[in-house]
Symmetry: C2
Subunit: 206 residues, 2 copies
């Protein structure tokens, strides 16, 4: 639990609402006006907090990334090193929701809204994805160190394939109402790591 | 080549522009007003064509699906049955662009915009995805018939995994500027089908 000052608590509560708005209406739908309506706060009060609409959008993305860190990345560090941790990261990511409401992940929808619009928002989305992918790659390298995966395993290839299964699992669950997505993604993951698993001899030699 | 009447040609030309607008600004950014600006046509003329903004959005989605059919699905039917066709479908889909401009696939961004908004637009996006997935499943079944893949291969699992690799390849190319995406996706595909390949004995017995 992070201790926060009263001002930080207020800001965090406002940003929770901002994430909720962005989750339902896209980051493009998040304005000082739409947030004022959602929170009942004055526009001038919100301007004082965030400076501009872009400032609000960027703060909202940072808030989502912090939640992702707290809810997905940090708990996984408590899981046994190597494959168990990699698998826990995969499952936590598939189960991740940016907001309690029906909206989807703000970072993922912003990736589609801003992929062709250079600027600070796009940079922030790219940074979020790169950090997530780097976290997978680190977990893969630990699994290699633990001799769970073969030394020649390419962490970037595993991260690429795992990220694909995370994207399709979210898509199928949210858009197609497919209840099998988690199971299918997990099957893909288990076959992916089995393909790269160290042999008993390699494990014994390690 | 499909023969079109003059009226159909005009409509198709307007819809090409609508796809371009939606590709850059999202389907949410596509309005009678934004299309009038892009085409130089009058709003009343566009209303006469599409009846309403939602009519325009739905016609645009159908136009994207028709292009996808013409550019991705139909050419692939000319490729040898079985694995060659499945691989060609995968590669054509990875190379697919809804519009010549820098914008991304309208169907994919609309999936994020409308996943939590029930209605005709969401239904159309779901229909587009289901048809694409069904096309993969059909190609997998043909590969089973040709004894390229084992009889117990689950077409829905293959379609799920292939779709994940298509999503991540597009994401990495458009958002992260990753030039390795196509190669990584193809590696994932080749390992996926190798895992489900029929053995020589099964092929001989077929």
């Amino acid at each position: 639990m992070i201790r926060r000052t009263k001002g930080e608590q207020t800001r965090a509560a406002i940003l929770d609402q901002a994430v909720d708005v962005a989750s339902r209406m896209g980051l493009e739908g998040l304005t000082i006006g739409s947030l004022a309506e959602a929170t009942g706060m004055s526009k001038s009060g919100l301007f004082a907090h965030f400076g501009s609409r872009e400032g609000l959008q960027l703060a909202t993305l940072e808030h989502v990334k912090a939640s992702f860190g707290e809810q997905v990345l940090t708990p996984v560090l408590g899981v046994d090193r190597g494959l168990p941790r990699l698998r826990a990261l995969f499952l936590a990511w598939i189960g991740w929701k940016a907001a309690p409401g029906p909206g989807g992940c703000v970072l993922q929808s912003a990736a589609h809204e801003y992929d062709d619009r250079p600027g600070l928002i796009r940079d922030s989305v790219v940074d979020g994805q790169r950090r997530g992918l780097a976290m997978i790659e680190r977990a893969v390298r630990v699994a290699i160190e633990e001799s769970h995966l073969r030394a020649e395993t390419d962490p970037a290839q595993i991260a690429f394939e795992m990220y694909g299964q995370i994207l399709v699992a979210h898509n199928h669950s949210r858009l197609l109402g497919d209840r099998e997505g988690r199971k299918r993604a997990l099957l893909a993951f288990d076959e992916l790591v089995a393909r790269h698993a160290a042999t008993p001899r390699q494990r014994a030699a390690a």
